[in-house]
């Protein structure tokens, strides 16, 4: 009896804490969405409100009348994220296949090498990367943010971990007997086998590329090439200083697609994190 009572008490504590944490997680976004519909005067009177107001279009007009251009940011971020994600998953799968399926002399050293360089954060190479890109006149080219994704050591590592127990060499052998070329075997047989791993890795690669600020901020100086996070940083500037409603609306516009995609794919994303997701 006593044990049951204790159990119930603990359960109450757990639910209270969890609900509080949930409120803290949602609250800033809720305030942001509500305030994006309120006028600057309304926000000045009370920065917090539970009910939306009707000034969204007005806020939008002010927002778009200045340098903030969400459509351009959205397009550039989409190009970079799709391009780099596609390259990263395809070539990481290919490299992982090379590491799992073939018995070559440098296989083990190559894998150890990948394990070592996994830990190098991109930021520490930025100065050299910037100088190199500047020298060949390729700053403000989105391709310079897409092509490096071909070499994604962390993703190769995860793809290999997935492929190692999954791939049966008998299937590969029988395809060879049927006369299939090695490259075709990879494209037609191995890639479909890797679909679950590709889906997980693609989501994380896309999100981290979409959210990345440091390298794009260094390379892109042309307003027409700005990505979404750089666009967002403009909202900090003096031109929006007193336009509270518009700033909240601008922030909401950048968050909305992410939240929509997240809620749609949350099951897979949480499962992916649990698998040992990649940290941004």
């Amino acid at each position: 009896m006593l044990k049951n009572k204790e159990n119930r008490k603990l359960k109450v504590v757990i639910y209270v804490v969890c609900i509080l944490l949930a409120i803290i997680s949602i609250m800033p976004f809720y305030v942001m969405f509500i305030n994006s519909t309120r006028s600057t005067t309304e926000i000045q009177q009370h920065a917090i409100s539970f009910l939306p107001s009707g000034y969204m279009l007005n806020n939008l007009k002010i927002l778009l009348g200045k340098s903030f251009n969400p459509a351009v940011g959205f397009r550039n971020s989409l190009i970079i994220s799709i391009g780099s994600t596609a390259l990263a998953v395809y070539f990481s799968s290919l490299t992982a296949y090379a590491l799992v399926a073939y018995d070559w002399k440098l296989r083990q050293p190559f894998f150890s090498f990948i394990m070592c360089v996994m830990m190098i954060p991109a930021q520490v190479t930025t100065i050299g990367f910037y100088q190199m890109v500047y020298k060949i006149g390729m700053t403000n080219h989105l391709s310079m943010l897409i092509l490096p994704a071909i070499a994604s050591p962390t993703m190769v590592f995860f793809m290999r971990q997935y492929l190692q127990p999954t791939l049966s060499m008998e299937i590969v052998q029988s395809a060879r007997i049927d006369g299939a070329k090695e490259f075709m075997i990879f494209n037609r047989i191995v890639l479909p086998i890797m679909k679950p791993a590709i889906a997980t890795q693609a989501i994380f690669s896309f999100v981290s590329s979409w959210n990345s600020l440091f390298t794009p901020l260094v390379l892109l100086t042309d307003q027409k090439k700005y990505t979404m996070p750089i666009m967002v940083s403009l909202l900090r500037g003096d031109i929006y200083k007193t336009e509270y409603g518009s700033v909240y609306l601008g922030l909401s516009l950048t968050v909305l697609p992410l939240i929509a995609v997240y809620l749609l794919l949350s099951k897979y994303i949480i499962a992916g994190v649990a698998l040992g997701g990649v940290k941004g």
Partner: protein
């Protein structure tokens, strides 16, 4: 068998072919930039749009010395470490507490999936957006925080909390914790779910209570995952950029300046000192390499082997018990419903 092996050998070259794209991209976009960064660290390369440089002849290590003696860099390094440590401690404690609650079989928590989705959400949102959102929420004179303080009559007119160094740093720490505890929790939960359930059942049979089970069974078994979390968080923490850069631009008075913001400011503002920024980057790379090396050495110790041995023993003990139980049950069943079993067998 022999034939298969020969065939494999003749296919070996494809291993090289398929690694070429990765190798080329790595050489071009990672290795070359690293080497180039190291070289720039020993030169006089500075000024907007400059690409030509000369090596420092009198004192090759001048940039490194200047950076290490720079009070802003020292401040940035200490800020980065302090902010990481103070965000990691509450983050890991909160994640461990939630993990203990969510994986406890004795009190089944309903709605775990929902809580996981909500707790993880801040992590998926663009950090740049979050930094500016918090800037707006803590704004002066108009902001959420001031609105609450004034309506609760704690202060009678809006105060600008963000000019206070401790408060500014505290908010950056809060944002980092808030963004990452959900991630850490999910990783730890998956680690706990990977532990063989027999170990838990065995502990329960031995009479261990919740706290004991968590401290002596769960924690030692998720040591590897804890270390993985520590290393990734450390590397991420030492590279903190988006939040401190866009929240208060490293201010007030360098209170939230991190090493990465320092590097960015050195190279891409003011007098564009690429050489000093490169030297600072290399110092950070060395620090990161040493720290992760130490952490991995800790992982590779004898305790791990001892733990595995203990687990095996516990599993054995449990299996033996279950066998006994099954034997007893079977004996009882045979005695009680012996006829029924026979009848079924005849059919």
């Amino acid at each position: 068998m022999r034939k298969v092996k020969n065939k494999k050998l003749s296919y070996a070259r494809y291993g090289y072919y398929f690694s070429i794209p990765f190798a080329v991209a790595f050489l071009l976009f990672t290795l070359y930039p690293i080497v180039y960064t190291v070289i720039i660290g020993f030169t006089d390369l500075k000024g907007l749009g400059m690409t030509s440089f000369h090596f420092l002849k009198d004192d090759p290590f001048r940039n490194f010395k200047t950076v290490l003696a720079n009070p802003s860099f020292k401040q940035a390094l200490s800020n980065t470490v302090v902010m990481w440590v103070l965000n990691f401690i509450p983050q890991i404690l909160l994640a461990l507490l939630l993990t203990a609650w969510f994986t406890d079989k004795r009190s089944k928590i309903v709605g775990q999936g929902f809580f996981k989705v909500i707790f993880y959400m801040p992590n998926i949102i663009t950090a740049a957006t979050i930094a500016i959102l918090f800037k707006a929420l803590f704004g002066y004179p108009v902001g959420l925080e001031n609105d609450i303080l004034v309506s609760l009559k704690i202060v009678d007119k809006p105060v600008n909390l963000l000019i206070n160094k401790t408060v500014a740093r505290g908010i950056v720490i809060f944002i980092q914790t808030w963004m990452w505890y959900g991630y850490t929790m999910i990783t730890l939960i998956s680690g706990v779910l990977g532990i063989s359930p027999e170990i838990f059942e065995s502990a329960e049979v031995d009479g261990a209570n919740r706290t004991q089970t968590f401290l002596y069974v769960t924690l030692p078994n998720i040591k590897t995952i804890l270390l993985f979390t520590l290393v990734t968080s450390l590397i991420g923490g030492l590279n903190m950029f988006d939040i401190p850069k866009l929240f208060l631009l490293g201010g007030p008075d360098n209170a939230t300046l991190t090493t990465n913001v320092f590097i960015y400011n050195q190279a891409f503002s003011g007098s564009y000192m690429y050489n000093r920024a490169a030297a600072a980057s290399m110092i950070m790379l060395v620090i990161i390499a040493i720290l992760s090396g130490i952490l991995f050495m800790i992982l590779d110790d004898k305790e791990e082997a001892e733990l595995r041995r203990q687990n095996r023993q516990m599993e054995k003990k449990f299996k033996r018990r279950q066998k006994e139980l099954a034997r007893i049950e079977k004996a009882q069943a045979d005695a009680g419903t012996g006829k029924g079993v026979d009848a079924d067998a005849e059919k």
